[in-house]
Symmetry: C2
Subunit: 356 residues, 2 copies
């Protein structure tokens, strides 16, 4: 057994993407040093935001690329890193919009700067301002450089242009989805199931699944038909993923997901699960508990019970399966190479497996 055998294929891919990001941030920090230590620190915080993720979007790029015969792993790592940096930009700015200072239990960019200002004796308001300001700036830098990483991938011009178009599509959709999400947060009524699905597709599924898979196929020089099929697969599986994510936000195991199962209920997150429940008799009992800031664990248990009794949980699980099946049916088409099918079926299974 040689050294590389000690690592699975995903670990190898992730290490390659991490390598690209490490080099990118090292260069940026060196360059920032000429502007003073505070600027270096902002880059360090941005790097911290980009670290520790599952490298989900790069994995989509690699899955499409390698199973379609691509062999330039360095180029794929750059394109994957570009989508990872886009993701970082979007979550940093999403946290600004949501006024969140914590992500997955640890302070985000806004949180780090806010906490430091508080420690230095700033008022709550001034400290939050400093935190949010730093996050606006950091997100801008990440966004701009997502594009730059495509430039630095060394891919030839026509391919580069297409990859940039795909990233443009990703941001264009995500901004539209974010806008809808902001509008949702100001509604008193719960949006309809299909409106929530549209929002989740635009805000997250397009840039996390559809576009990275397309990018991998374009990089591999795949035929247009395959690129289109991958986009369709990505869109459908991405929606399934979001529904599952919302299910895990209420019914998941915190130890597995790293995400609390009470946060979504306390903030009254608009999900398919909750939207379905509004149409049931039990809604009268559920409603006052959704968005209740001081929801207790026992109240949360009661909501979970009711979401099961009303069939909301089963409905959401069924919907996730429906989208996953739609995704899988695209892979059954004759023009899809077996290697691609073998790569993507486990991804679809893994998405559904999260709620099993």
């Amino acid at each position: 057994m040689d050294g590389s055998g000690l690592l699975g294929v995903n670990e190898v891919r992730q290490a390659q993407v991490d390598g690209v990001l490490d080099r990118f941030f090292s260069l940026a920090k060196n360059r920032a040093a000429a502007f003073g230590p505070e600027y270096v620190r902002l880059w360090e915080e941005l790097q911290a935001s980009a670290a520790g993720g599952k490298r989900f979007r790069p994995r989509m790029v690699f899955s499409a690329y390698q199973s379609l015969g691509g062999t330039d792993l360095e180029a794929a790592a750059y394109i994957g890193a570009a989508f990872e940096l886009l993701h970082t930009a979007l979550i940093v700015h999403d946290d600004v919009i949501d006024h969140d200072f914590v992500r997955r239990g640890i302070p985000n960019v806004s949180g780090v700067y806010r906490d430091q200002a508080l420690a230095n004796g700033a008022t709550e308001k001034a400290a939050e301002h400093r935190g949010i300001s730093a996050a606006v700036i950091a997100g801008d830098l990440a966004l701009f450089n997502a594009y730059r990483l495509i430039d630095r991938s060394g891919v030839a011009d026509i391919t580069r242009d297409r990859l940039v178009e795909v990233m443009d599509d990703a941001l264009f959709a995500s901004a539209a989805g974010e806008l809808i999400d902001v509008d949702f947060s100001h509604l008193t009524d719960m949006p309809r199931v299909d409106d929530i699905l549209t929002m989740e597709r635009l805000k997250t599924a397009v840039y996390s699944f559809e576009c990275p898979l397309q990018a991998g196929a374009i990089l591999a020089g795949a035929p247009e038909q395959i690129i289109a099929t991958l986009a369709d697969f990505g869109r459908e599986i991405g929606v399934a993923y979001q529904i599952v994510d919302d299910l895990l936000g209420v019914f998941g195991q915190e130890s597995e997901t790293g995400k609390t199962t009470i946060g979504d209920l306390r903030e009254g997150k608009r999900t398919v699960l909750i939207s379905y429940a509004t149409t049931t008799q039990e809604w009268a009992e559920i409603e006052p508990l959704i968005g209740k800031r001081d929801l207790t664990e026992s109240e949360a248990d009661r909501v979970r019970e009711l979401l099961i009794d009303t069939g909301a949980r089963a409905f959401a699980e069924g919907l996730a399966r429906y989208y996953a099946n739609r995704a899988l049916s695209r892979l059954a088409e004759a023009h899809v190479p077996a290697t691609l099918r073998d790569e993507l079926i486990p991804i679809a299974d893994a998405v559904l497996g999260r709620v099993k």
Copy 2:
């Protein structure tokens, strides 16, 4: 006299840049229509933010480009429009950071969305949230597309790569300057004159003067020596411009500048003018009036009087002249073509002319 003779050279250039931006926004709005009317509206508001400016940065691009022999005015208009869109992105996000809902007397993106939410019965807090969220998203779209306009300019690859590097430098410096500015706003002491100059150079002068002039020269295929001289000229004249801008913010004619002459005093803006005053005996009388939210017109008059008496105004004017002279001295170098000199000397004169 033919038709084109009716318009001055700046009007022709501006019309060309406006044409590029109009086409860009038309395309974006058509594309946004598939995502619903609210998204089209966000693009309309972003377009409104990009409209009505002096097209200052495009003028720098054209000045360098045409006086160095460039003749592809369409390409120059694209590069100019790219810097204009970068400027739009930066001011939209700067307003988010400063919690400003108005720019030059009219509601900005945040303001339009906030006011609409208020009209629909939202609370102040919810309305502000909606306004700021829309502005974060709009700024992201503008930032990303600033880059895209360079791509769409049709310039050849090596030139394109260099132009993108220049825009990267512009954002990199501006983010550093914005971070310093945020730090300033949390200081109790007034920063030193040289720290303010550094901040203003990074935050504004680099992306408004240095980089657009460099970009014009690169596009014209100018020798490296000329590109470097233009960068130096731009950096120096840009700092002069900022000092003059701060002077006009206190001593200007509102009818000419479109900017109130009490706003900067009320918000306690950190400027060379005020920083100088801190070192004088009169500071004890000035200090309580700086950053006084309800400063009256007669108190503002008193501050102006004191800023004149202490020599702060004369110092700032002298400093602006010093930077303008440094800029002009670069143009005296032997390798600078007369056409370039003839184009840039009036720009330096115009910068200083604003305080005469």
